[in-house]
Amino acid sequence: MKSFVCIKYVPDTSEAEVKVNPDGKTVDDSRFSYDINDADNYAVEESVLIKEDKGGEVDVLSIGPKQSEVMIRMALAKGCDRATRIEDERIAGHDPLIIARVLAGALKDQEFDLVFTGCMAADDGHMSTGVALAEELGVNHASMVKEVEVLDGKVKAHRELEGGLMEVVELELPAVLTIQTGINEPRYAPIRGIRQAQKKELNVKSLDDLGLDPAEVSFDASGIILENLYIPEVESAAEFIEGEPDEKAEKLASILVKGGLV
């Protein structure tokens, strides 16, 4: 079983206040702490669990700055075998379709059975990269995966849908799986393991190294134009409807009718 796991280095915005820079297009990240994207952490664990069960190898793939290597080393310490970090300022990083194109470019000459990604990035929340990657690679995919069973030449993926419904799908390999949080319990990467992982291969590549045409993944090539970032205004228009159930229903219906919603 040969797998790739794609991971992203993201800011933890739960503790720090998010402020938009005066340019209106970037966020002040001076007070953020960075770590592996939460869902990607589960993807790493799943890829390692499958390797431990079925044998094979796991390669880490990431687009990010030098500082993200601590995250990559942690994944290697947990059991991944080697890693490639892509860094090139020409990549339109705000566009998940472009990211998918770059990742697919890195995978194009590789043989693989499974590619794991997180189902969503904690910073931009697009939930698109993994699915777009499958499209770029021309392979099957299942998103929001909560359980994986590797079969002979196939994989059974349990997808978590809205309302907690589980859909079970069977895919021919190779395939891309976007992993939902909670599928497993990611392990800790002890420091000694991280130090030992220094011996594992970590290649840094640019678009040129990957043989990708910068024009195809640049800001000009992106269909997404970032116009403006702003913090949504907090509005507090909430009305509590009191009374007996009949009265409440009547009041609610009247509000909806007046508002032109029904």
């Binding site: 953020f32 960075y34 770590d35 601590v70 800790y188 002890p190 420091i191």
Partner: protein, 378 residues
Amino acid sequence: MSIENQTFTEKHDLLGCIQCGRCTGGCPVTVRAGLNVRQFVNNAYDEEKLDELARLTEIWDCTACHTCAVRCPKGLKPLEVLIGLRAMIVESGKVEPTVRDALQSVLLEGNPWEKPRAARTDWMEGLDVKVAEEGQEVDNLFFVCCTIAYDPRVQVMAKNMVKLLNKTGIDYAFLPEDESCCGSEVFTIGEEGLFEMLVEDNTEFLNQFNAGRIVALSPHCYTTYNTYFPDLKSPVIHYTQLLDELVEEEKLTWDKELPKKIVYHDPCYLGKQSGIYDEPRRLLKSIPGVELLEFERCRERSLCCEGGGGKMWIESQSTAERLAETRIKDAKELGAEIVAAACPFCILTLEDAMKSLGYEEEMRVAEITELLGELADS
């Protein structure tokens, strides 16, 4: 016997144990969670049992209070056998998620609370505080501690310390936001590699400052620096030692009274582990109006609050009464109006216990710096 087991046996001097049972007899957690440290020391001789022992959940019940080490007639540290077993689990990576996140946060952000490093000195906002610069001479260099830096309940310790220091006019400075975790809890959780890294990095970092002495606000940092950092250039003292000195020299005096019955809770890391019993008591007695009470279990017999040993990140499976609740009940029985302690962990656990017992109206849990800071308010 394999070399590996010899290492574990030798490292913890297991053959030195005479199985007298004083460790388990004195262990406060034995009563609450059934932890039997003597049994672990006995069974750890057998190399084949180590993996099995490491998987027992009781190893995470130890609060590293050191009662077993204090009582051991052979001078052993039975608790470190449990820490050694924890280390085996940590190396496998299969720790509780809360422990995993705390350790990872120490590596990435220099604190176990998953807070950004950039926010470490936010508590200083609005205060007239001196921040240390590399190479500059300073008599008293303050090491704040992660919990005090980030936890809004105990940030008051650092803030009040600034207030008190500014009153005395002594030469001091606080470390900038590059200050990192001392590793006290990392050590007791058993992350040996991370702890070694912290010893190396913190020694290098602290030695950059030309400090007459380093003053630790938390007993955990104080004891850890004094026990495991042999290459620090500056001596490390606890803040109660400094304030006691300043009161003695009459550089700190109190204009107000505090007519309250106060019972002092000896933190394990300050008392049992470092022998500082009198300075906190003298400080409290220096306050006009204070009537200082004593717990029946005080000084080296003090009952652990269960805040150490990594217990902030791992819950005991026992549902028996928390030791902090026992402590608060004892304080109430004594008629104490204030339970004072000189440790951020003790304050957090004792206050939780006080609230869960519903004693908020009649009792208060306060850090010594809180009480002194209130007296210093004009």
